[in-house]
Amino acid sequence: MSNDNEFTGADILLKALKDQEVDTIFGYPGGAVLPIYDAIFGQNFLKHVLVRQEAGAVHAAEGYARSSGKVGVLLVTSGPGVTNVVTGLTDALMDSIPIVCISGQVPSHLIGTDAFQECDTTGITRPCTKHNYLVKDVSKLSETIHEAFKIASSGRPGPVLIDIPKDVQFAKSKYISKKDISFREHRIKAGSKKVDKNFVKELVNHIKKSERPIFYVGGGCLNSGHQASQELIELVNKTNIPITTTLHGLGCFPGEDKSSLGMLGMHGNYEANLAMNKCDLMINVGARFDDRVTGRLDAFSPDSIKFHIDIDQSSINKNVKVNFHTNTDINLTLKEINSFIDTNNIDFGDKDYRNWWGQINEWRKKDCLHYEQGDEVIKPQHAISRLYELTKQKDTFVTTEVGQHQMWAAQYYKFSKPNRWITSGGLGTMGFGMPAAVGAQMANPDSLVIDIAGEASFLMNIQEIATAVQYKLPIKIFILNNEYMGMVRQWQELLHGSRYSESYVDALPDFKKLAESFNAVGVRAKNINELDDTINEMISIDRPVIADIWVDKKENCFPMIPSGAAHHEMLLSKYDKENPENQEKGKVLV
């Protein structure tokens, strides 16, 4: 019974993706998705990027989403195809990145029989997705896909998975377009669109009364869109309140602006953490009081009144109790605050928080990011500083792996726009950065995309270099090579008597030759004299480049709030010693 209005499940998927304006999909074929790959073969709106392992697909989709503001999409087969993306889905869930993962499943009649490449996909991915589906009926496929995109991108964004058995990919049904679907509101969880006027009024009143206010801004501001950043900049300029951002908030506010105290938290700036500790008014804009940020909870900002703007109700009062909160979108709320200040002619001009800024400038004099660059061995901090200086005039996106290099990148690379900084924060996934760079370059073909990497992380998804070469993506992998899992070694040094158990990475490849064997380009800087030339050479080459930067092997990342310590108990250099009581407590934390 064939009908002209009926399409196969595979074709319905393609139609829905087109309807959702998806132009790029990262994937890897296999038995249970062959019908979909066949449909991809016969079309030209969708560019498929063949990764080398499914983990690469999911991180690339994350990089694509973060750098473009759109939903990232990936396609994997059943069984191992799916289990390989579990890390990336969890990463996207922790960091609120909108992605949709399409997975193939064994045919319906084989589900539950331990068939070849069968696994309980929805069971395995349930705790690491915002939502997931197993589509057993092709007539439900269109609305499922459209709902998945809506859920992934609404409210607090996150990953959604759609599992499609092979027989459903062949079965036929009508296609229902996006505009003909009416979403059920309770399932979308979009958050309130109505600004809480009382919250706004209270906030402005408290700003007027406060002596030591601070903005604490997180990735939620990023997810609220570029306009949210504009509103934030306007509000900071109006009020002259200092602002600190989390790892994911970097770029929401220009990092070089005088009001910016830089990043806060475990490896945050001295002035940022001290200001958080001593403030009397904290305005949290889309941050979640993560343990890397708060340090010891009972000593976290003891004297402040706390306001919290977060679209996710469960982030409110989870780790830290706040005095006022709203679950409305950040952009809308900030806009209302700005217009409230304007319409009521509230002038903060004479206030200026002069004493507060005086105190902050005292803290700034500590120059907590100071390092001594000698005339031979490259300091990793210096490598990032030079990279920043030599690329800041360009349209640049930076991704990272996880570890010391990531923290140095956050400290020494300054971001002036949102969505330019793509890193794995919540989950801390080594191997994230290079595939994420592939995704970011796909979304921004004309921009400079750099993965700031450590040699250990880079080796975790090294196969994706082939993807970059195949699609002529001129990503730059900037490796701070110290031959150690640097952050592991740092913790062993601080907490485990310098017993460097298994943190030395022996038998490293020659990264230059490795690049050449992949048909990419390898460059190397062994000492300080070669650094600038190497960076300039790397930037000038219009192909994938691996830059192997040999840095000081024993350098540690400071400032540091050791686990279990409070904001005002920072270590500023290797000469600072930790309070032994904290050290014992910190040992059992992460």
Binding site: T122, L134, I151, H186, S314, N317, K318, K585
Partner: protein, 178 residues
């Protein structure tokens, strides 16, 4: 003199831990129970009792009632997490409503040996107004309903009779706000 602990003991957390009954309305779809149970186990919350039934066939809704233990902060967090699940319409802590009613049903099978025991059992059954489902020579099955506390008391009282064998099943509490 006793040594001081290196870690503070969170006495308050235990002290303030109290029983709550949560009522959750959900779309009746595959996996919803697994989502809820997974949320509890994944985040380290307790489920003391659980009850799931379709309550609206037309709208395809189920009501899930969960008895849990935790301090108020934890209960609020559980509710916020439940409400984030896509198929969840609402999650309510019955204790926060101005008026709500709660019931549980329990079937008890009692095997006894002599008349004295039989008399005592009959006496308790009468006090608690439990319904006789079946009575044989030396076996009786009762149905008792009411709050969980009431059932607990009934079972405690039965416990005072020596030499009888009790087997039982409980539905877990269900509740409704007015």
């Amino acid at each position: 003199m006793s040594s001081t602990s290196v870690y503070p003991t969170p006495i308050n957390a235990f002290k303030q831990s109290k029983r709550s009954v949560l009522s959750v309305i959900v779309d009746n779809e595959p996996g919803i129970l697994a989502r809820i149970v997974g949320l509890f186990s994944g985040r380290g919350y307790n489920i003391e009792a659980l009850n799931v039934t379709v309550v609206d066939v037309k709208k395809n809704l189920s009501r899930i009632t969960i008895e849990t233990l935790g301090e108020e902060k934890v209960i609020s967090q559980i509710i916020a997490q439940l409400e984030k699940l896509v198929p969840v319409h609402s999650a309510t802590n019955l204790a926060n409503l101005s008026e709500s009613y709660e019931a549980e049903i329990c079937l008890v099978k009692i095997e006894f040996e002599n008349e004295e025991q039989d008399q005592k059992i009959l006496n308790f059954a009468d006090i608690y107004r439990s319904r006789t489902v079946q009575k044989r020579q030396n076996i009786v099955v009762y149905e008792i309903s009411g709050t969980s506390e009431r059932i607990n008391k009934f079972l405690d009282d039965l416990d005072t009779i020596g030499g009888i064998k009790v087997e039982l099943v409980r539905s877990g509490p269900i509740g409704l706000g007015i």
